[in-house]
Symmetry: C2
Subunit: 243 residues, 2 copies
């Protein structure tokens, strides 16, 4: 059975303008791959409701799980909750359990639970809250769409909270060999090996190191024995390759 | 007139598996923003023809320019040229001018222009080559889709080659103020200011610094005078904000 699939939707002008470098995608990719879930697509869209709605509805129909980041804070440009509500055709309102979480947190820290902060208790009808141990304001899930904050420390904490809920697959194992020859010399023999071992996914990732061309050949499989055989075949074809 | 729009398509399993951290998106975002072109969407898809074709056809219909990265090398997993051909319904074959570029380059460097390397001269019918001063094998453009290598040094060089061809807009200016208060305190006054100044795009990007909450408020506009007024309004609302 193929592994479950996931997509990520990164919401925010600050990434697309180049002001901020996204850190969450790389983190999520690693966590999902470890767990045997294939991250099959990532999208990054602006803080605009039609763009978010279109992306969410396309991705949730095509993949088992969708994880979003960004746009769930208290400010005027945080429009993700409303966009998710619109995507599912569900009303969005302050919910009592989310309000209670926030009220207790701000009472402890001596801050006012004002109108802006209360926005963070607004979730679509029927959503399930995602625990936020870092800064309390929760994420939420609607069906297979899981909505998380964009601040990296909070995003990571929410991913940890969500992971036990996700059905994983067989962990995808990988091995990598570094070959200090140009891809043009590697491609022929590698293509033959890849054709002969269809159970292994072979990727060739070129690099330039001090002016010299080389490539990392990455082999991926859920089968450790097949993976060993692939490494052996590559070592024979490319003597001197290093792990 | 609104600025021209662009989308980026990142092609490659190595990004989605978390093995490699994409560096090209952040670079392209900065370059386009400087030039007054709005990077409106980014997609990252696997090395699979149907995924690439669907993304290319969706993006090229919706945005003025599409830039892709990855999958144009000599190995079996480099399938971008064929996917772009399929997206446009154009045959893909070795082209004489591209072959000549490669033949001259490999003659100079004493390497063999073998079958694998010759794959890098395959482009869709009617494509325009994009100069690659780093490693010669060219990128190519078909209509509004510009196809570039994924290796960051080559990607950047190809972007430089392409930029003079792109129609820019008015450069988007930005100013940023750091406010050392939680977004929940900032949101109310900021929302009022944003409503009063519709020509300015205000973004609030929260951070946690040594346990203390704060936010960078970013203002963007093509109008420098309006931008000054926005900075002044924010400074009045948040005394102690720093640039």
């Amino acid at each position: 059975m193929p592994n479950p699939t996931a997509a990520m939707l990164v919401i925010g002008d600050e990434i697309l303008s180049g002001r901020t470098r996204d850190a969450n995608m790389h983190h999520l990719a690693g966590v999902l791959t470890e767990r045997g879930i294939t991250l099959a697509e990532v999208r990054m869209v602006q803080d605009e409701q039609p763009a978010i709605v279109a992306a969410v509805n396309d991705l949730r129909a095509r993949f088992d799980t969708v994880i979003t980041s960004g746009g769930i804070g208290p400010t005027h440009d945080d429009i993700t909750a409303d966009a998710i509500g619109a995507a599912f055709g569900r009303p969005v309102d302050v919910r009592d359990d989310a309000r209670t979480l926030l009220a207790e947190h701000y009472a402890r820290t001596g801050k006012e639970l004002n109108e802006a902060r209360l926005r963070m208790a607004r979730v679509p009808e029927g959503a399930v809250l995602i625990d936020n141990p870092v800064s309390v304001a929760p994420g939420f899930s609607v069906e297979n769409v899981h909505v998380m904050a964009g601040v990296p420390s909070v995003f990571r904490a929410m991913v940890e909270s969500l992971l036990p809920e996700l059905t994983g697959g067989q962990p995808l194992l990988s091995r990598s060999l570094r070959v200090n020859r140009g891809e043009g010399d590697i491609a022929g023999p590698l293509g033959e090996i890849a054709k002969a071992m269809p159970a292994i996914s072979f990727g060739s990732y070129p690099f330039v190191d001090n002016g010299a061309y080389g490539a990392n050949i990455v082999m991926r499989s859920t089968d450790p024995t097949a993976l060993e055989a692939a490494v052996a075949a590559l070592r024979e074809a490319f003597p001197g390759a290093t792990e």
